[in-house]
Subunit: 453 residues, 2 copies
């Protein structure tokens, strides 16, 4: 068997790159847990009829079949394409054993059988948080869940990210108050503003959503409002539309912006952007899309919102609010561009040199003493010359090499440890010596775009 | 949509059970990293021709196809059914970017399209460690990798486990030295000893492997040798067979037993068991199967060995040695039997009560102060009576409830924290108070079978 080509759309990380991904996932998990979100993992398959309910996404589903299934057998299972559908099913299946409101985070891959392009993968990892209620879910959870994701992304070594919020009630109420005949179609047309010029969208609003040219112009005016504080409330009111649902939407959006404001930083900003609609039909209030500075070509790196019916079993409806962060979507380009790297490809902080194969067990003892105190280490694969063993460590990025050699005079083992970056070599005791904290484990190293050029 | 039935063969954990699984995975990862093993994750799909190479396993493969693929399109991708095949492919694909010997650990699900039974799942998580060399791999890595898994399982809250070692060179050399015509078939027949009585196996050795009745009896005698030390060497020699390969196998097996001995404990034992063969053809030296006390019905909960050709690209051969632990296979029954449980289903150590909705932001401030010092907490979903909020915490297993109430005399907020298990309530400062270490995070609680009855 000869060279192996990568499979398009299925990115795989080298060990040092995986250090970055694991650290990001650990950091996200830490923030989510500080806020009381419980981790779950769902199986990766769902019955196809459950996956296909979304309608337009069904083309992208991978279905599963046993290689030697009876010919003509109908496949019944497909791979999940997001973490929302399996979570909704999990809530229904296990509802009797969960406490509501139920906060969960889920960091798992999902699969789409689509043609891959940059930022789109056939297998990709997402990090989702949701809060789901049994029958009802107070609005303050919208603020809570969004703020948690703001804090979670603020803790990551990413380029600046921006949370762009809107509210479906605000848009719907505004369109209704304005007197537009087909509100749903109008929202779908406004959603095309990132692909079409405003003039074309105005025409579509007239042709498809039954708006007058004046109404279309007002819709576009609403969509241009984009501010980092709650001043949008007055600007919307200045457009002269009155509607109860609009008022609720304004109040909710203002509460989300205010609730997240104190968590913002140089890394994470928050805005009300009244053209954000999110195509998915199930959103009913808060909506958000997350963008990353310098990576606008990826479109959003995350998003979510409020859905008054995440799941329903006919008797009980489970409303939810959640937000998803595209781990692969964000990291793969940052790693490829060299902005994030692992400090070394192995966990080992120390390479314990081996003097000769007969004394390998003495080196094992040194390693055992170091590991007992939480210091990752490995032994040289063979008893080569020490210079060769140092190069062995160098190639792996291992910062320290440990030598135990019989003293020329006394014959006793003399232990020394060498920092191979500085060349400094000192006497050391395997039961007490500790590397500097920053060398103990591989870390994520960050470079900015400017430094990278 | 009405009630949802679980999908047979796809076990899913409730949040408190997932606490156990995550802790087990974190513990395994910790041990593997202390020994310098780097983590990787491979994509879950492989080209079908790569998965099907094993021959007899191809029936169990799940293949993937886009739901709306052209009819008659041949599926090209299948889900991996273990972590060895994808690891071998990863080594070949990325060989130029890896340092050898390459130590990796991998903890991921695998999938098999088989009929589920106890201990067998269609989706199951495995933890694999392997060391792979480029062209060559010294034998001492056999000892290393087995000892690492002994230490890893010793750190887990499991019933006692036993590592049963053998060596393919020992068996092959013995059979060859004995003069058996068809050594490969003889090994396959001996492997049936766990299903058939010895007499039947003896007959098969005669009928299928061309052994004389005397040779068959000697083979069975070899297979009965099972000791916890290196005394097997003398017992094998006493059978009177002489062969160079046998001598190598004896020396290797003795080295593995000795190398692991100092890591054994009440929880983990190590034995030479000369009837262990492992059916898979690719093993060439050390072989191991791991059993768990009280769960013999699961057969082995792990296994592995030495393979002189894990992978090959035609020019270079990559020998390897590894061992796999069945995380799902072990945990799902232990959790189902109530031997392992999570101490609570939520990460929160503290529920911050909410006096009324107007003061929710004051409760947010308390929570923020606690989280800043790494204390997971959540707020009450609503400003119910305090008794109700305490029961809200109780149902989630949250040990502490935080109250901030205006003092009757001064009007200043008086902070108090209540341990709802003891009822003790004390004044506390959100910037300094810390729960006892054992309450900070959910833990795994263990019960023995005896306590459970």
């Amino acid at each position: 068997m000869s060279r192996i080509a990568p499979l398009s759309g299925f990115p795989e990380l080298l060990p040092a790159q995986r250090v970055v991904e694991r650290e990001i996932i650990a950091s996200l998990s830490r923030t989510f847990e500080l806020h009381g979100f419980a981790n779950i993992e769902t199986r990766v398959v769902e019955p196809i009829d459950r996956l296909a309910k979304g309608g337009e996404v069904d083309k992208e589903i991978y279905v599963l079949q046993r290689l030697h299934a009876e010919s003509g057998a109908t496949p019944e299972l497909g791979m999940h394409f997001d973490l929302t559908v399996p979570f909704a099913r999990y809530v229904l299946e296990h509802a009797g054993k969960l406490e509501f409101p139920f906060r969960r985070f889920q960091i798992q891959p999902a699969w789409r059988g689509e043609r891959p392009q940059e930022g789109r993968y056939r297998q990709f990892t997402q990090a989702d948080i949701d809060i789901v209620g049994n029958g009802e879910l107070a609005f303050h959870h919208d603020v809570e869940v969004m703020r948690v994701m703001v804090e979670a992304l603020d803790a990551l070594p990413l380029p600046p990210v921006s949370f762009q919020f809107n509210n479906r009630k605000l848009i719907q109420g505004f369109y209704r108050g304005l007197g537009i005949a087909d509100v749903t179609t109008a929202i779908r047309m406004i959603d095309k503003l990132d692909k079409l010029p405003p003039g074309d969208v105005a025409e579509l609003l007239v042709e498809q959503a039954g708006a007058t040219p004046e109404q279309a112009a007002t819709c576009l005016e609403l969509a241009t409002i984009r501010v980092a504080d709650t001043s949008f409330v007055e600007r919307v009111r200045a457009l002269g539309v009155r509607d109860d649902l609009l008022e609720t939407g304004l109040a909710e959006l203002a509460a989300v912006i205010e609730g997240c404001a104190s968590a913002t930083s140089d890394r994470v900003s928050v805005e009300a952007n009244l053209r954000i609609a999110r195509g998915l039909d199930y959103y009913t209030g808060t909506v958000v899309e997350i963008f990353m500075s310098g990576y606008e070509r990826l479109k959003s790196v995350g998003g979510g919102g409020r859905y008054d019916a995440l799941a329903s079993d006919g008797k009980t409806t489970y409303p939810g609010v959640g937000v998803s962060f595209g781990v692969s979507r964000t990291l793969i380009p940052l790693i490829a561009d060299g902005l994030l790297t692992g400090s070394r490809p192995v966990p080992s902080a120390v390479l314990v040199a081996v003097g000769d194969e007969e004394s390998r067990s003495a080196s094992v003892e040194v390693a055992t003493a170091l590991r007992r105190r939480g210091i990752p280490c490995e032994l040289s694969a063979n008893a080569a010359k020490f210079g060769k063993q140092i190069r062995y460590a160098e190639r792996r990025g291992i910062p320290f090499v440990w030598f135990g050699r019989p003293d020329d005079e006394t014959g006793e083992i003399r232990h020394q440890v060498k920092d191979i970056r500085t060349g400094e070599q000192v006497d050391a005791d395997p039961t007490t010596w500790t590397p500097p904290q920053e060398d103990l484990r591989p870390r994520t190293l960050t470079t900015t775009h400017e430094e990278n050029q």
